[in-house]
C-alpha cells in the first residue's frame, strides 16, 4: 500500500510543484491542505505517513499546526517536514521547538526533497 503524504501550502504554485514531484518521481500518495487548520483536520482524518508543510500560511501557520499535531495522540508520531523561504538559524530553531522533524528551504530541489522523504518513508 502506497505511503501517504499530506502536503500543506497556501500557494497553489507550491502545491502543484510538490504534487508533480511526488506523482512523477515517487510512489507516494498525495493529499493536500491549504492552511494549518485544514492540515490539522486532514491529519486526523487521513492519517498520513508524513506531513510536508509550509510555515507562513493564513488562519494557522505551520509552527502552530505542528504544535497542535504534537499535542494530539492520533498525530503525535507523524513525521513533519517544514518548508519555508526563511533559512535563519533562529527560525529553524523555532520550527524544531514546534515539534517538526526536519526543515527544508525554498526553492525546493526535487531530488533533495525526494531523498529526504525516502529517508523517512523508504522507497
Amino acid at each position: 500500500m502506497a505511503k501517504k503524504i499530506l502536503v500543506v501550502d497556501d500557494s497553489k504554485t507550491a502545491l502543484m510543484m510538490e504534487r508533480e514531484i511526488l506523482e512523477k518521481r515517487t510512489n507516494y500518495q498525495c493529499v493536500t491542505a491549504a492552511d494549518g487548520q485544514e492540515a490539522v483536520e486532514k491529519a486526523q482524518q487521513e492519517h498520513p505517513d508524513l506531513v510536508l508543510m509550509d510555515v507562513v500560511m493564513p488562519r494557522m501557520n505551520g509552527f502552530e499546526a505542528c504544535k497542535m499535531m504534537r499535542q494530539q495522540a492520533s498525530t503525535r508520531e507523524i513525521p513533519i517536514v517544514l518548508v519555508t523561504t526563511r533559512s535563519e538559524e533562529s527560525y529553524m530553531e523555532a520550527g524544531f521547538q514546534s515539534g517538526c522533524n526536519d526543515y527544508i528551504t525554498k526553492p525546493v530541489d526535487g531530488a533533495e526533497l525526494v531523498a529526504l522523504l525516502q529517508s523517512y518513508l523508504g522507497e
Binding site: 500557494s11 497553489k12 504554485t13 507550491a14 502543484m16 510543484m17 508533480e20 514531484i21 512523477k24 518521481r25 523561504t85 533559512s87 535563519e88 528551504t105 525554498k106 526553492p107 525546493v108 526535487g110
Partner: protein
C-alpha cells in the same frame, strides 16, 4: 559603488532542454489556470518566490505608443525609494525591449562584497515586450540563477502576458494599494 554591471549578461532564449523540469510544468499550469489579472499576478509572485527564490519582485508595463515604462505592480520593494528603471539601466532596457533577458550575475564589488544578483525578464506578446518582470534580491540560500532558471525565465517571457494582460495586452495599470507591498530594499536602484 559596485561594478556588477560588468557581470551583466543578455541571455537569448534558445535550446529548450528542460521539458522534464517539473517547475516548468507547475508554472505553466499555474499561469494557465489563473482567474483574472489579480490571480495571475499572485501566480507570478508565487512562481518567483517558490521556484526562483526571491521575494522582491516588480512588474513594469510598457506603453506601446511611447515605449515609456511604468511600475505596474511590486512586492517586497519600496518603489518610492528604489527606482526599478535605474536598476535596469539603459543597456538593460535595450536588451529587454529587444526580447532578451537581462541578468546581473553575482560579482564582487570593489570592497569585496557580493553585489546583488537580479534579473529583468521581458514579458512578450506578438513579438513585442509588453511588460518587464524585475526580480531583485535573492533569498540567502539562493546564490545565483542557473540554467533551469533561464528556462523558467523563457516560459514566463512567452506565456505570462496572456494571463496578466489578456489577449490584446493592453489592460490598464492596477492602482489598488493592495497590489503594492512596501518593504525596504537597498542599492543599486535606490533613489537619491
Amino acid at each position: 559603488m559596485n561594478d556588477n554591471k560588468s557581470a551583466a549578461s543578455g541571455t537569448k532564449f534558445s535550446g529548450a532542454d528542460a521539458t522534464t523540469d517539473l517547475r516548468l510544468v507547475a508554472a505553466r499550469k499555474r499561469l494557465a489556470e489563473s482567474r483574472g489579472q489579480e490571480d495571475a499576478i499572485e501566480g507570478l509572485r508565487e512562481i518567483v518566490a517558490n521556484f526562483l527564490g526571491s521575494e522582491e519582485i516588480g512588474l513594469l508595463r510598457v506603453d506601446q505608443t511611447t515605449a515609456a515604462l511604468q511600475v505596474f505592480w511590486s512586492f517586497g520593494i519600496d518603489t518610492e525609494k528604489y527606482d526599478l528603471l535605474l536598476a535596469l539601466g539603459d543597456a538593460g532596457r535595450e536588451r529587454v525591449m529587444g526580447g532578451e533577458c537581462h541578468v546581473e550575475l553575482a560579482a564582487r564589488d570593489r570592497s569585496g562584497a557580493m553585489a546583488k544578483v537580479q534579473a529583468f525578464v521581458p514579458i512578450r506578446m506578438a513579438n513585442q515586450t509588453v511588460a518587464i518582470l524585475a526580480i531583485l534580491r535573492l533569498l540567502p540560500q539562493k546564490h545565483s540563477f542557473d540554467g533551469s532558471d533561464m528556462e523558467l525565465f523563457k516560459l514566463l517571457s512567452n506565456e505570462a502576458a496572456m494571463p496578466l494582460f489578456g489577449a490584446n495586452g493592453h489592460s490598464k495599470p492596477a492602482t489598488d494599494e493592495h497590489l503594492t507591498d512596501e518593504r525596504l530594499t537597498d542599492e543599486p536602484g535606490m533613489r537619491a
